[in-house]
Subunit: 184 residues, 2 copies
């Protein structure tokens, strides 16, 4: 976790459809991991291949990112909302602008970042502590999650966060440099 | 275009595969539009449905975003590289960190932002003026494009950029507010 960052960030992916959303959902979880979330929670269709993709990247590229399936995301949100122990941030193109919202989101409480699929129930807008838009144009939940996490959490120290990596990419001006500890 | 932003930004999507990449490519073009690019260029499989999606969003949500298919993206890159009139920025997890690279990318020249698919030819790394990574972890070209454009171009004035919109989303604290001029 970054210094001064929130204690724990989970990303809840609502309404996953196994066929149509496979790669978007996969990218969404990897984006959560790369930009500092601790966990991705899949809801909608039960799809082990999404969890396998995420776990496989964590296995190779390090860190302690978790993934799990949630059968009843609305019950979970209701409980979390009632408990008050977690800040619920719902990313939606209908919400308030992220640049204005972010300074109000507490950094001393765990957060659950909710990312919708096609049709998000109206109740989610009410259970959320913050409905946040990353622009009010149609684009992508992957883009919205990246911008939100990067802006809210800030810069991540990749080498400490993704400790225990078997594969590491070394920044390069004009080629690919990958260190693969398995091959050494 | 934003004040002080680059004069023209095109996004080139390499290696599109019609079945596998349909939604990622669609999100990539919408992300290009939402974060201030002027044009998306599709390469790989010829896929009219991607262009239709992008044009349909522009038609409804405004602005002058263009889309087209490019048969020979490598020839195009070679030509652009030779002419020197355009800055070629290649987004890749193998590149140099974006926070360090962005201050060096000129804002007074048009830019071509290249986003790879599965296998990017080594030549692209050499034709690019900048190979830029948005983190060195595997995540998503959609996330990388969003972060890069948002960081480089800066805040967009949506109401002027997306002029002539038939549909407009009004930011809301806990619901959906959409103005649809077609229905008025």
């Amino acid at each position: 976790m970054v210094e001064d960052g929130p204690p724990r960030v989970s990303v809840l992916r609502l309404g996953h459809r196994r066929d149509r959303d496979k790669r978007i959902t996969s990218h969404l979880g990897l984006t959560a991991r790369a930009f500092g979330a601790d966990e991705v929670i899949l809801a909608g269709d039960r799809d082990p291949s999404a969890l396998e993709t995420w776990d496989s990247v964590t296995e190779r590229f390090g860190g302690e990112f978790l993934s799990r399936f949630e059968e009843s995301p609305l019950s979970m949100l209701r409980q979390e909302s009632k408990s008050g122990g977690v800040t619920i941030v719902h990313l939606t193109m209908y919400g308030n602008p992220w640049r204005e919202s972010i300074p109000s989101i507490p950094l001393d409480k765990p957060a659950l970042v909710v990312v919708g699929g096609t049709k998000v129930p109206a109740e989610v807008f009410h259970l959320a502590d913050f409905n946040v838009s990353v622009g009010n144009q149609p684009h992508s939940e992957v883009a919205a999650l990246a911008i939100f996490l990067e802006s809210w959490i800030g810069q991540i120290d990749e080498s400490s966060r993704f400790h225990g990596a078997k594969m590491r990419v070394i920044p390069s001006t004009n080629g690919k440099t990958v260190i693969n500890d398995d091959e050494e």
